[in-house]
Assembly symmetry: C2
Homo-oligomer: 215 residues x 2
Amino acid sequence: MNKREKITDPALPDADDGALKKSRYHHGDLRAGLIEATRRLVEEKGPDGFSVSDACRLAGVSTAAPYKHFKDKNEMLVAMVMEGMVRHRDNMLAALEGIPEGSPERVTALGREYVNFALTETGVFRLKFGGFSDRLEDPRLQEAGQQTFNIVLREVAACRNEPEITDDVRRRGFLLWSFVHGLSFLLYDKKLKDMGGDVELVSMLTDIAYRVLRD
Amino acid sequence: MNKREKITDPALPDADDGALKKSRYHHGDLRAGLIEATRRLVEEKGPDGFSVSDACRLAGVSTAAPYKHFKDKNEMLVAMVMEGMVRHRDNMLAALEGIPEGSPERVTALGREYVNFALTETGVFRLKFGGFSDRLEDPRLQEAGQQTFNIVLREVAACRNEPEITDDVRRRGFLLWSFVHGLSFLLYDKKLKDMGGDVELVSMLTDIAYRVLRD
DNA sequence: CTCGCAAAGTTAGTATGACTAACATATGTT
DNA sequence: AACATATGTTAGTCATACTAACTTTGCGAG
């Protein structure tokens, strides 16, 4: 899915030495490079283990370089999470492909993809929802999240044969969201395994969707 | 930014203020004092805004003092969260008082108290479940959480007229936990208000308990 | 009672990380 | 070609986690 090269091109060891050290003073697209480095490190070390210095080392620049592109560490994280949310939304939309309109399977597909993202891009997910710092409450992030939730609401409305997104639809959507959201956290924490549960994720999602979409 | 003074009353140095600081060379119970300071600060500044130095200032000791009682910052947090989990469990047990055995109201009462704790002691809750650092995965914390979940399982079993905690009970309990867990996160993030929802927490809990405990 | 030792504090110092200031180099109009 | 600007660097400040080595205090054995 993601084809990423090394962030800093190894930049061939200057075959013609003697000449001035002409090896790329400018990175090319450091902003993107830093976001990618941030993403990797957050996934690897966790949101609180991440440091700007590490990102700089990964990107191969000095520790002052990021501040030409981001106000501070927090803005780096916000930018990274923002990209993640876009992927999140795209993945959810893609998960709907080929499933007939108005069927509950569309809702469970969204749920599965939600959990999947949370478990795959744990760092992003936890930064966005884990209550890391109040500082991460950027309006653009809120907006992106809202858009994603609207996808769910649309499907719930379709399942309920509602032409509009009514309060009832919103309520059911929120119930489903709560469940899937909590599930994401608990599965990451391995709570299911801890209690010796051998429950299948899909059957659980189907179960809850059935319960919440009915009546 | 740091306008912090000592919180404890500077007057009456010999008075036992029972708070965080004693004026003697030896604190008396610095371990407890530091845990309390940690709790306050985590609630105030958030889990990631917390610093050992701040806790020391609050407790009125030097920045090296904590290391006579805790291995490192992480152990301070673990100790603090541990105390929180005990409160959490006690609160949930207390919430059951006076509600007839085997009634679904007992389950919703547990849910209400769960959410209430998450919203009241946000810092503790997020430290435990927000996925801060893997380092916080102390077996004693896992154990404490398991005990609390067992309270839920017992009530679910009673509602279902099961003498034992069967796989079915465990499954339904887990569904409920997921929901309430996710709800805790979303409510803190104010997602409900953001979507213009005017849904009552209690009615929502009753709703979901009804759906999951039935059939 | 007091002696001495361990527990519990202290000060001073190291290492690392976030961020800033001042300087250096590349880049793209014109 | 030249300058303005974007983008990068080095060097330094400040805060924090943690350690080392010293000091004070409580307390138990003789």
